[in-house]
């Protein structure tokens, strides 16, 4: 089960498991992100390459436009996935 919501301040909140079957639901929100934005991972406990690919494409688009994503509250497992993927070099992670 995966849920995604955008709060009034523009932050994007992820919940549950972002796998290949759920990535289109996430894409619908990420495609609407047009400027720098915080992605809150506090409720997310699983992500695969499908979700990573969506984050990468969004970051690429924003950086080209002068913005960037900031990722916060990653759990240790997801943090490890990001390190293996080399996403430490691509995202600001707090």
């Amino acid at each position: 089960m995966f849920e995604i919501e955008r709060s009034a301040n523009g932050n994007v909140h992820l919940h549950g498991r972002l796998d290949a079957a759920e990535v289109e639901k996430a894409r619908g929100v990420f495609d609407q992100v047009a400027e720098s934005c915080v992605i809150d991972f506090a409720g997310l406990n699983y992500i695969s390459s499908a979700g990573l690919g969506l984050l990468f494409a969004t970051q690429k688009r924003l950086v080209d436009a002068g913005g960037a994503l900031t990722l916060v509250n990653l759990n240790p497992h997801i943090r490890e996935i990001f390190q293996i993927a080399g996403f430490d070099n691509i995202f600001e992670i707090e």
Partner: protein, 139 residues
């Protein structure tokens, strides 16, 4: 239960069932939560690759699991497909910054990073692909 095997329809919508199957096995053989999440990721990446890239495959992809001592063996079997060796896919440039980074290749890179062995077999006569991985358990 030390071994389990099940077939799943060749579609991304099967992933929920795949994860239930993996979770039940992980509980039955006693692996920790972190390892269980790694197993989910490894199987999802291999399963979705078969769904997306094995043109004209059979109706089902079979997932087999077995624990022998401190080793977990995972096998995915696909039928009526062209040969494709995942071990031959180059790693992405993970040290690159975003300007030089290209999408793609991440799933197999994650798989290779998380398992202790990745093995591929292809039978031309039956057009059957068999991808096997081994993970040494820490507990």
């Amino acid at each position: 239960m030390k071994a389990s095997r099940a077939g799943f329809r060749r579609e991304l919508g099967s992933l929920d069932g795949v994860f239930r199957f993996l979770g039940e096995f992980a509980d039955a053989v006693g692996v920790d939560e972190r390892t269980a999440l790694c197993i989910d990721l490894v199987v999802e990446e291999l399963f979705t690759n078969m769904v997306k890239y094995n043109d004209g495959g059979g109706d089902q992809i079979v997932v087999g699991l077995e624990r022998i001592g401190d080793r977990l063996h995972i096998e995915l079997v696909d039928n009526d497909v062209e040969p494709f060796d995942p071990a031959g896919v180059p790693d992405p440039a993970v040290a690159a910054g975003i300007a030089d980074r290209r999408p793609g290749g991440l799933g197999l890179h994650l798989v290779r990073s998380m398992v202790d062995d990745l093995h591929y077999e292809y039978e031309p006569e039956t057009r059957q692909m068999r991808v096997s991985v081994t993970k040494v358990l820490e507990n």
